[in-house]
Amino acid sequence: MSVLEMRDVVMEYRLREGLRTTRLRAVDKVSFELPPGRTIALVGQSGSGKSTIAKLLMQLERPTSGSILVDGEPMQYRGARAAAYRKAVQMVFQDPFGSLNPYHTIGHHLARPVKLHHPDFSREQVADRVAELLRRVRLDEDYVGRKPHELSGGQRQRVAIARALAPEPAILVADEPVSMLDVSIRLGVLNLLAALQREENLGVLYITHDLATARHFSDEIMVLYHGAVVEHGPADDVILNPQHEYTQLLAEAAPAPERRLAELGH
């Protein structure tokens, strides 16, 4: 798999209020293309539909209309091609406290996707691969036996990243991966993601509120407003020369990205 593309995707939620049903258009004719090795930042205010786009890409929701194309062919929801797709596209969730099962060890969280990806692996091979994944996210190997509640937020998010890398994906969707973390460790996690992205030539959809990190870590920025993409272009262009009112507002609110980054690095 190489290219993921959304074409005129619309997602409407049906809301029931008593007997009446109303429709809420969470995603409104969104089109973009995510090639390997490229990072696209998806920026927008709360409720603008960012997570819904992530869910559509993860097959947790189906679009109301429009199409999602994988290498130019419509996405399959069943069968062998769907299984291949699920391995190729992985996700890092926003909340590191909710994305790990409190009942299971770190080892379980990493071993399951490894086993699903390599059903033929022996127990030792799975353990080796789990240890390697932990090393890749700069965690000590003896974290395998620990439970999530024994880890800090940053460590949990590293585990979540390792889990996403386990099936050797081509594309990573990161839904506000650092917004729940302490400011002091955000940059560390983002740098780790950027390093992994380069090493594996991943295509990354980086969902965020933060224009400063969006500019620093992404090639393109896509601005979402009420479900529709109102601005899409190279990162510097969008920040320095915003066209849409809403982007201008955002850019003003974060006037000096360099300073924000310096703050984060503190």
Binding site: Q59, L60, R86, G98, Y103, H104, R163, A166, P167
Partner: protein, 281 residues
Amino acid sequence: MTLKLGVGLGIAGVIVLFGVIGPLVVGNPSTVRDMGLTGPGNGFLLGTTQTGQDVFAQLAYATRGSLIIGVVVGALTLLLSSFFGIVGAFVGGWADEAFSLFTNIMLVIPGLPLVILISSYVPNKSIWLVAAVLAITSWAGSARVLRGFTLSVRSRDYVLAAKISGEKRWRILFVEILPNLIPLLASQVVFAVIFAILGEAGLSFLGLGASGSFTWGTMLFYAQNGLALRLGAWWWFAPPGLAIALFGAALSLINFSIDEIINPKLRSQTRAERNKWSVKA
């Protein structure tokens, strides 16, 4: 292990042991003798009934009977409420709608009148039938609690993550969701057991219980019929009454401890501690 859990398990354990081993060592509880209403001692540990039956032997058999009711109802409640609560919420869609409609109907059917109705239609009830009737009228509440919790667990990110990594549905249910429900399930079952034993005692006391078998409730019923209270034969009605109270208290203690395990906030938050904290802050 907390003190509460220890005391609860201790009392419940003694009673269960007595119910299991007791009937094997005591004599026939129904043997009628020519020595009615003798007090404790005189060769009978807990005295005799009006017709000279050994109260201690009856208590042993009654303990076994009440425990059987508790276990059967606990198991049936676990099965029914898990099926209609957890599976419905997990599958979602029309299955959930249908299951929760059925649960709600069972919930609003008043239990006691239904039990009385069934009891009056079936003259010779075994202890198993009574247990089944109690279970059928009591699982719905648990099912609702379980459904609510399953719905919340089902939409947690770790379940979505398992789905994304391509886990099979049954594996998501049994490996990712169910373990997180175990404390809740345990507390529901313990509650069902308390309900069943008390419910059976109530039914038997009203004369609607199992016929021809001993339970704590039937013992109280016969004691009441034999005017034990008025004749001052405390050794006849006190043991089964005390057994019910002790076992109920023990299970409640266990239940509280499980609640504290589920919700650690309950454990250390006494009012005094909260106040101390707010003074400091």
